[in-house]
């Protein structure tokens, strides 16, 4: 089992190094194939590990070697695969293996083909490191690793100014959040003297309540950054500048869920402080609504899906915040499948439309792209939460959790958001695949993607369909060995069925409304642009503008001040002063070395006088 664990963890790293060595060369098919195959190996290893955990119920743990040994501070490179990790690594490897294969087709014509696969595999390695580590510090290493890979991949087309800007934004915002996380970890170490999960969780009750509040709060700040929760959410939509497979893998399926994973993993820290949990839930519900509203009007296909991701992350946080950790993890899993599918489908559309992102310029693509149409519709249905697809089981469960826990406001918000989700998902589908073929105006001849790309998407599609009803039972049985096994049942069957059907009907109506409204659209209607709500939403509630005005610009001014005034006037001046004073010292002292005998004699006399003074002083002291 240990070797399997190492295989699952290090196969992507080997692939990354392999592709990275070829990074400088022009496109080589082997640079894409080898990482993909290695990732399939990793996937197989992960599945075996999952099977092992599922059947025996015991975690696989290894300690690779000591990492840090300073005084009492001992951290080892330790890895463990328990129930939660097993779920995570399977999700990560499944999605990334499919994305790798898909990328071989998607990045076909890109000059950075080899480099892309190197980054992508490195990301998978970091993500595996993150979820497999058995201590907070290892988690942090993976956390930073995925951050770096995200930066590299968002800025993959670094020659585009917007891409490098988005990469910087993503990286800097994560850095802000990571500081909180690091402080949280430091606080844990300070209070408990260890960062290993087992030891930390075993000693939670020794912690002071205030300290625990701080720890959980700070850790959640880190989670907020990675999972793009308000107010650190702006980077996620901008991160769509990266290649679409990257968006699918990193910014939908895996990395952004790391925050949720952290909260789930540290559930024993969060359990004694329901206040923090409640705050997380409220923030999650707010973000769910907030992001969904922005997705309603956006005219950028990928951004719409990105906002949808944000919204779904909000759902997960609601579940995690309310203590339903297994539900959060479940939604994380199903979401990973259908959101990756949705993104990959969007990638196909983009390819077909020559990187056009505005759905108002598409329409009627279902004839040209049958496969993509089916897959994306499937993903949208799953996202909307229609029975019997995956989204229904996980999302409805979250609604039930909110209901059962008597958080009716949260429930209402989430219900409304479910409607919004359905609306914007099918707005997108309707605009892209149905209605008139508006793209003809722009002289585009869409074509379907490579067959193997569609085949690579199909496992995701299958999982998006069956992950709900197929896995729920086994999943629950396995995960609740670790996580609190709270079952959420609405006791009255009438209320339960009303809720289920009500939600389904509500969602169905939203879908129908979206379809009717957008299927006949001829072109974008400029009249709406003067609408106040439209302006508010399209400008993302003016939050980026606020950040620009109150953070970016003042910070730039401060930096400029520091550069012009402090660095140049003070620091540089001091350095220059040192240099010039040494020069001047040289100018002065060179007169001692003229080679003139007379000068030397004078200096000798000076020395003689100094010796005399010393002699006199010593004499006086002797008295």
């Amino acid at each position: 089992m240990e070797n399997l664990l190492y295989t699952a963890l290090f196969a992507p790293l080997v692939g990354s190094i392999f592709a990275g060595v070829l990074g400088g060369r022009s496109k080589m098919m082997i640079a894409g194939l080898v990482p993909s195959i290695l990732l399939l190996v990793s996937l197989a290893a992960s599945l075996v590990l999952l099977g092992h955990v599922l059947s025996t119920g015991t975690a696989v743990a290894v300690t690779m070697f000591d990492w840090i040994n300073i005084g009492n501070f001992n951290v080892a490179f330790g890895f463990q695969v328990d129930q939660v990790t097993a779920v995570m690594i399977c999700v990560v490897t499944v999605v990334s293996a499919m994305v790798h294969i898909y990328s071989i087709g998607y990045m076909d014509h890109d000059k950075g083909f080899n480099r892309f696969f190197s980054y992508l595999s490195l990301f998978v390695f970091s993500m595996m490191f993150l979820v497999m580590s058995d201590n907070f510090l290892g988690l942090f290493v993976g956390w930073e690793g995925v951050g770096v890979c995200s930066y590299l991949l968002v800025g993959f087309w670094y020659h585009k100014r917007s891409a490098s800007w988005a990469a910087n934004e993503a990286f800097i915002m994560n850095r802000v959040a990571d500081l909180g996380m690091l402080l949280g970890i430091a606080l844990i170490y300070w209070q408990l003297g260890t960062v290993k999960y087992d030891e930390v969780f075993a000693n939670v009750d020794k912690l002071d309540m205030t300290v625990l509040l701080w720890i959980t709060g700070l850790l959640f700040v880190g989670a907020m950054g990675k999972s793009a929760q308000f107010p650190l959410h702006t980077w996620l939509a901008d991160a769509m500048e990266g290649p679409t497979p990257v968006s699918a893998l990193i910014h939908a399926a895996t990395m952004v869920t790391a925050g949720v994973y952290l909260v789930v993993r540290a559930n024993e820290l969060y359990a004694p402080v329901p206040e923090v949990g409640y705050f997380i839930a409220c923030l999650g519900a707010f973000v769910a609504m907030f992001a969904a509203s922005m997705a309603l009007v956006n005219r950028d296909m990928k951004r719409i899906i990105a906002y949808s991701t944000l919204s779904q992350l909000g759902y997960m946080f609601v579940a995690a915040g309310l203590g339903a950790y297994w539900v959060a993890l479940f939604h994380l899993m199903t979401h990973a499948f259908f959101k990756a599918l949705l993104f990959l489908g969007a990638g196909n559309v983009m390819h077909a439309m020559h990187d056009e992102l505005d759905p108002f310029k598409m329409g009627g693509l279902r004839k040209a792209m049958k496969g993509t149409f089916i897959l994306m519709t499937l993903a949208s249905v799953a996202l909307a939460g229609i029975w019997p697809l995956a989204g229904f089981f996980s999302k409805d469960l979250i609604l039930e959790v909110a209901f059962v826990e008597h958080h009716f406001i949260l429930y209402t918000v989430l219900l409304l958001t479910a409607g919004l989700t359905a609306f914007y998902s099918f707005r997108l589908v309707a605009l892209i695949f149905h209605g008139e073929e508006r793209y003809k105006l722009f002289g585009i001849h869409p074509h379907e993607a490579y067959r193997f790309m569609l085949i690579a998407m199909s496992p995701l599609a299958i999982l998006a369909v069956i992950a709900g009803f197929g896995f729920k039972g086994d999943y629950f049985a396995m995960v609740t060995q670790m996580l609190p096994a709270t079952e959420y049942h609405v006791h009255s069957p009438v209320v339960y069925w009303t809720m289920v059907f009500g939600t389904q009907i509500f969602v169905g109506l939203a879908i129908a409304y979206a379809y009717i409204k957008y299927v006949k659209v001829k072109a974008f209607d400029p009249a709406i642009e003067s609408n106040f709500f439209y302006k508010l939403l399209i400008n993302q509630y003016y939050i980026p503008a606020l950040y620009e005005k109150f953070i970016t610009v003042p910070y730039a001014k401060l930096s400029r001040f520091a550069w012009k005034q402090i660095d140049q006037r003070i620091v540089d001046a001091i350095v220059d002063l040192i240099a010039t004073s040494i020069y001047k010292l040289g100018e002065v002292s060179k007169r001692m070395h003229t080679g003139n005998l007379s000068t030397m004699l004078r200096l000798m006399t000076l020395g003689f006088v100094i010796v005399l003074v010393i002699a006199l002083a010593l004499q006086m002291m002797a008295k």
């Binding site: 006088v609 003074v613 002699a615 006199l616």
Partner: protein, 175 residues
């Protein structure tokens, strides 16, 4: 009384002569003044009952050394006035004044004279030359012999150096 008069006269004369030596631009004046100063110093020695040294001073300094300088000066044009750039007279003044004050302070401080002890006391019934002979050929025999060797070496060096040919560069001369 006689001793005091003699001391002051010799002091004044010596100081004046040496002052002339260091200030004059004419090498011949300087040489003459120096020779005169040496003779007056031998006067001090006689006053201090160091008859032997007084004679040595007269013979070696005023005789041999001065003659050597005189001969040395024949090798080059001693009447040619060397133009000396004197700069920073202030520094010279400060340094000399300071060292003078300190030396005097150290010398006149009673410490040295009080702590000094006689190593070799002269025999009262013998003369200065005889006493000096005893000490020189008993306690200081080896330094005396070394001094003799040193003088021999210096003599040879002086002859060799002075006999180098005038117009030939050093490298050629060595061959």
């Amino acid at each position: 009384m006689f001793e005091a008069i003699a001391f002051y006269v010799f002091s004044a004369l010596t100081i004046v002569m040496f002052y002339v030596t260091v200030t004059t631009n004419n090498a011949l004046y300087a040489l003459s003044a120096l020779a005169a100063g040496m003779i007056f110093i031998s006067g001090f020695f006689f006053l201090l009952d160091a008859d032997f040294l007084g004679v040595i001073q007269l013979i070696v300094y005023s005789g041999a050394v001065m003659a050597m300088y005189a001969f040395g000066m024949m090798f080059f044009d001693s009447t040619k006035v060397v133009k000396e750039k004197t700069h920073s007279a202030r520094n010279v003044f400060i340094l000399t004044a300071l060292s003078a004050i300190i030396i005097v302070a150290i010398l006149t401080a009673p410490v040295i004279a009080d702590n000094a002890q006689a190593l070799f006391q002269p025999f009262a019934d013998k003369g200065n030359v005889e006493n000096l002979g005893y000490v020189l050929f008993t306690k200081y025999l080896i330094p005396f012999e070394l001094a003799a060797v040193m003088l021999l070496v210096a003599m040879i060096a002086g002859i060799v150096l002075a006999s180098k040919k005038m117009d030939i560069p050093l490298e050629k001369d060595a061959q």
